[in-house]
Symmetry: C2
Subunit: 190 residues, 2 copies
DNA sequence: CCATAAAAGTGATATACATCACAAAATCTA
DNA sequence: TAGATTTTGTGATGTATATCACTTTTATGG
């Protein structure tokens, strides 16, 4: 377990420097949790108590449309952060699902805890500032992909960007992430 | 001009509190700029020296695809921040355009300045953290719209969310934002 | 290791939306 | 305010992708 906290500290220290004293203040806010494949972190209409840092495993966050089709917002793997951020930030019931594609381990952080350590420790505010900004940039790139590329081009792009992901998740989930039907994706070469 | 700085300070103070002393440190980093309709803030392949806070006016940020079609990433109006954030953050040549739909005024902030005030003044780090997080959430919502809704449903959603925008920009730009052809959008009722 | 479920492939058909072509409004600008 | 430019509307046609139905292949858990 201590090594998991070590991993988390390393994750922060890739972006900002922390003293031991600061880390002592931060670490207790993170609660360990472990789930098996198919178990839910977040379900629609339920409160969203935490954001999650993924120690190990793989999750997906997704919405279900009127027709019952699944649309994937994000795949989360080791070292990623995931939540229903809209609901988390505004403390509203979830509008998306997050569940495990593989057995997974997490650190959970409540909104209250996050705001508290951001107020107390400027380095943490800067960490989240930089992380959020990077996340924002990634989503802008994805929107441009959705607007400018064909389904097949988006698939090729993903193959280049995250080749390992394709080994870990069924293609029908890749299709749900790219915004294309699994049948159409299955007809792409490669 | 002083009142423009006042507006900017108010904008920060909607999210965080600043002392006069802090504001004295912050304000000089912002450089005033004024452009007319059709003039460019950012052009592809050029360095991106600043991010821009819009005092007044309206801009669009967009990419041009291989076929020469324009795809709009963002409309920026009063109080919005805009840049080519990917290029800005990584100090690379721009991959998108930003130009004025109306005569506009801005405050420009360099990356160096932004990082400097975020390091010196924790409230500013928290301001950008919260702003980036909100931006991230908004883009997630837009991705879900692109994945789950039809073109007409996305149009209706935008009509609800930003009814004033429709008064200020030609419909062909709305089409370029929604990811639909202007002809198809013209056939939607309303 | 077997039984059941999940994933993937594939043909036939349907459809949302794009594209092309042209005309009519609306709006800039000299 | 006249001429040019931009924007909008609309019919005809094309196409990328969805949907449906079914089979084959691969994974999974008891």
């Amino acid at each position: 377990m201590q090594e998991n906290y070590g991993l988390l500290r390393q994750h922060f220290e890739e972006i900002v420097n922390l003293t031991d004293a600061e880390w002592e203040q931060i670490a207790p806010h993170f609660e360990y949790r472990k789930l098996k494949k198919h178990q839910f972190l977040i379900q629609t209409d339920q409160p969203v108590e935490c954001e999650f840092w993924i120690i190990s495993g793989l999750v997906k966050s997704y919405a279900i449309d009127q027709k019952g089709n699944e649309h994937i917002l994000q795949f989360g793997m080791e070292q990623y952060w995931v939540s229903d951020y809209f609901a988390f930030q505004h403390q509203l019931p979830a509008t998306i699902f997050v569940d495990c594609i593989e057995d997974s381990e997490f650190f959970c952080l409540s909104l209250e805890s996050r705001e508290s350590i951001c107020q107390q420790i400027p380095a943490i505010a800067n960490f989240y500032r930089i992380k959020s900004n990077n996340g924002f940039i990634n989503l802008q790139q994805r929107i441009l992909s959705l607007l400018t590329l064909s389904a097949e081009e988006r698939y090729d792009e993903l193959l280049n960007k995250l080749p390992k992901l394709l080994q870990r998740v069924p293609k029908k989930l890749i299709a749900a992430y790219l915004g294309v039907s699994r049948e159409t994706l299955s007809r792409f070469k490669n």
